[in-house]
């Protein structure tokens, strides 16, 4: 036996094994590390930076609660954040880093803007993942085997907005959305739903983001026949210019705007500030009620005492972190397949309803079935891995004021009429 040859062969094999281990996914190496490691692929810079900042807050609140309750499997959970910048290339790098380099035990995100560009990579890795985004493209692609979506889909949200318009007596509406993925997804679901409910769309405006002026577009929007309402979604940066220009049109006072959850973000309020006293804006977002919401708000206030309300979308992240942490706790392991195998059991009935990691953990450790009901809704996922929730209605001006709810039953009724 030639020791030198054998030694070199061992080195090569060992090197290959090390390289292979790097790409083997989360279970190979992360299982050896203490403490559950979450990886968040979220936009911390760029056009939708406010989304990432708010999601991060939700994750931090959840982690504080988890670690305050003794952590997952007795060890503190940790969070690694990679910036997707809201673009596909950066999202690909972020996912590759989190999965291939950091070997996270669970993935949070990406968001609607980038999720479809990396979903295959995520699902192939087997890393348990909760995507945070409403794009309808996830309806059939989440699958519910190692990835889920606990936040609403535009397939539900669009009919909900259409129903909101009809309930407010608006029968003729326009659509004004920017060309980003989330807005386009919403447009595709609002229009047929509104028509099915007896409404008519007077015109559809596609707004290029980041323009120096939207005056010509507004001229078209307010042209005869004047719409009663406008289904509106735009990223806050672009919306700032839009509202600034909209203030130059007297017709702004005669039209109601129906917005998505974008419309109640802090940046959206700032964007709308010049016209806040003139615009009638009604927005749909996560329902602000329920014991899950209360538990979240209490935890959020403890972590961010200076804020009067939880940041927009932070509830989605709180739910995602808690569900994955509880799944790992129930599985008794940080193995990817083991965690994935328990997500449905944690998120869905039957089981005793609980609303935070601290509340659910002792029940799980006692061998009880639990049903985590979170801040953004019940988090009950269907066979496709998607959750369906109700919504809160908000009047948006200088502040955001709750103005009612649309329950999941209301929305299902609207969806049923759409199918008829």
């Amino acid at each position: 036996m030639n020791l030198r040859v054998e030694g070199l062969r061992a080195l090569r094999l060992g090197g290959l094994a090390a390289v292979a281990a790097c790409f083997a996914g989360p279970s190979a190496m992360a299982a050896n590390a203490s403490g559950m490691q979450f990886g968040a692929a979220i936009p911390m810079t760029g056009r939708i930076a406010f989304v990432g900042e708010n999601l991060l807050k939700g994750a931090q609140v959840a982690l504080a609660g988890i670690n305050g309750a003794g952590g997952v499997l007795g060890a503190d959970a940790r969070l690694t954040v990679e910036d997707t910048k809201g673009d596909a290339q950066s999202a690909t790098v972020a996912i590759t880093t989190l999965i291939g380099v950091d070997h996270v035990n669970a993935l949070l995100g990406p968001t609607s803007a980038t999720v479809m560009s990396v979903i295959d990579r995520v699902q192939e890795s087997g890393t348990p993942a909760v995507f945070i985004g409403s794009t309808a493209a996830l309806d059939r692609t989440v699958k519910g085997r190692s990835s889920w979506r606990l936040s609403h889909s535009d397939s539900d949200f669009g009919p909900a907005m259409a129903l909101l318009a009809i309930r407010n007596g608006y029968k003729t509406c326009a659509v004004a959305v920017d060309s980003l993925e989330g807005a386009q997804s919403l447009k595709v679901t609002i229009v047929p739903a509104f028509k099915a409910l007896g409404g008519s769309i007077s015109r559809t405006l596609e707004l290029a983001p980041d323009q120096a002026s939207y005056r010509s577009e507004l001229l078209d929007l307010f042209a005869d026949p004047m719409p009663q309402c406008v289904f509106f979604e735009m990223s806050p940066d672009s919306a700032a210019q839009f509202w600034q220009n909209a203030g130059e049109f007297p017709a702004l006072d005669k039209v109601a705007f129906l917005g998505s959850d974008f419309a109640i973000s802090g940046d959206a309020l700032k964007a709308m500030k010049p016209v806040a006293d003139r615009v009638k804006m009604i927005a749909l977002a996560s329902a602000p009620i329920g014991p899950g919401r209360d538990a979240f708000k209490t935890a959020y206030a403890a972590t961010y005492p200076e804020e009067t309300e939880p940041a927009l979308y932070s509830d989605f992240m709180w739910d995602a972190v808690n569900v994955l942490a509880l799944a790992a706790q129930k599985a008794g392991s940080l193995d990817a397949a083991a965690i994935s195998g328990q997500v449905d059991a944690i998120a869905n009935p039957p089981g005793r309803a609980c609303h935070s990691f601290a509340e659910c953990k002792p029940l799980v450790e006692a061998g009880e079935d639990v049903n985590f009901e979170g801040a953004a809704g019940t988090n009950d996922v269907d066979e496709t891995g998607n959750a369906h929730t109700g919504y809160g209605i908000f009047d948006v001006g200088r502040t955001v004021e709750p103005a009612g709810v649309l329950t999941a039953a209301d929305v299902n009724g609207a969806l049923a009429s759409l199918r008829d």
Partner: protein
């Protein structure tokens, strides 16, 4: 017809908003064939300085600071980086300028964050007025007049003063200018200071009339560059003409074309102009012939 005239008016307003930064970009080009893409961040910086001092300092001081801070930054950029890249292939300073842009943008974010900020302007200044088919606010008209004055002032400076003569000499033949007793480096530095100040003033106007965000300058960069190329690289008058033409064309195009394609219209215009006049609409009178 009335609708078209209204959009024409909108286009002129858009054009005046980008004219001053477009002149800034052209001036930087004349100093040594440097296409400085960090000009967008100088615009952003001017907007943030305006936001930071608004309501705290008197208006003249706010405007002066909005011009001075980017002017200093522009000088630093030239002295530390770009003067060593003069005479190189065009893409070399271009790449360097992209790096500069990233640095400046991150600096702005580090200081002011990523949120949307507003300069509080009296509501009366934002109330729309109509002149036949045209509509505008008093604020926009004031800013357009201000832009015209600034551009006129730059023209006077470049073509009616000794400094302008030196600047043109240094841009057209730096070595000969040195031999003739013109301190080319100092003159070029002064041109960059002027360009930085113009970018800052453009940012101040945009910040006052719209909103202040870290992406303000970057999102307008392409349309500013299109204006400069359409008008003619190296011609300040061309930059102004290009800005107005780009503004008018993009707004009028919405009559026939989906508004989502507005950004593309600017580049189609650029391609068409360059097909028939490769140097742009106006012959460059400050085109550098030698490094």
């Amino acid at each position: 017809m009335e609708d078209a005239l209204t959009r024409l008016g909108f286009g002129l307003l858009t054009g005046t908003a980008i004219a001053v930064p477009a002149v800034a970009m052209t001036l930087m080009w004349t100093s040594g064939r440097i296409l400085n893409l960090a000009i967008g961040e100088l615009v952003t910086l001017g907007a943030y300085v305006t936001y930071a001092l608004w309501g705290i300092a008197p208006l003249p001081l706010v405007i002066a600071a909005a011009a001075a801070v980017p002017a200093v930054v522009a000088c630093l950029m030239y002295a530390a980086v770009f003067r060593f890249l003069k005479g190189r292939e065009v893409f070399v300073p271009l790449i360097a300028s992209i790096g500069m842009a990233f640095m400046l943008n991150n600096l702005v974010i580090a200081v002011w964050g990523t949120g949307i900020e507003r300069v509080a302007v009296p509501a009366a200044l934002n109330a729309s007025v109509r002149f036949g088919p045209f509509m505008a606010t008093p604020l926009l008209l004031f800013l357009a007049a201000g832009a015209a004055l600034v551009v006129a002032g730059v023209a006077l400076l470049l073509y009616r003063t000794d400094f302008g003569l030196r600047a043109r000499a240094a841009s057209q033949h730096g070595d000969l200018a040195e031999v003739s007793g013109i301190a080319a480096f100092q003159v070029t530095l002064a041109v960059w200071a002027l360009a930085g100040a113009l970018a800052g003033l453009g940012g101040a106007a945009l910040g006052i009339s719209a909103s202040v965000t870290p992406t303000l300058g970057a999102t307008l960069l392409l349309i500013i560059a299109a204006a400069v190329v359409v008008g003619g690289l190296g011609s300040p008058a061309g930059a102004v003409l290009g800005a107005l033409l780009v503004g008018v064309t993009t707004e009028l195009s919405t009559i026939w074309v989906n508004a989502a394609l507005k950004p593309a219209v600017a580049f189609v215009l650029m391609a068409v102009i360059l097909l028939f006049r490769s140097g742009g609409l106006v012959r460059a009178d400050l085109e550098p012939r030698h490094a």
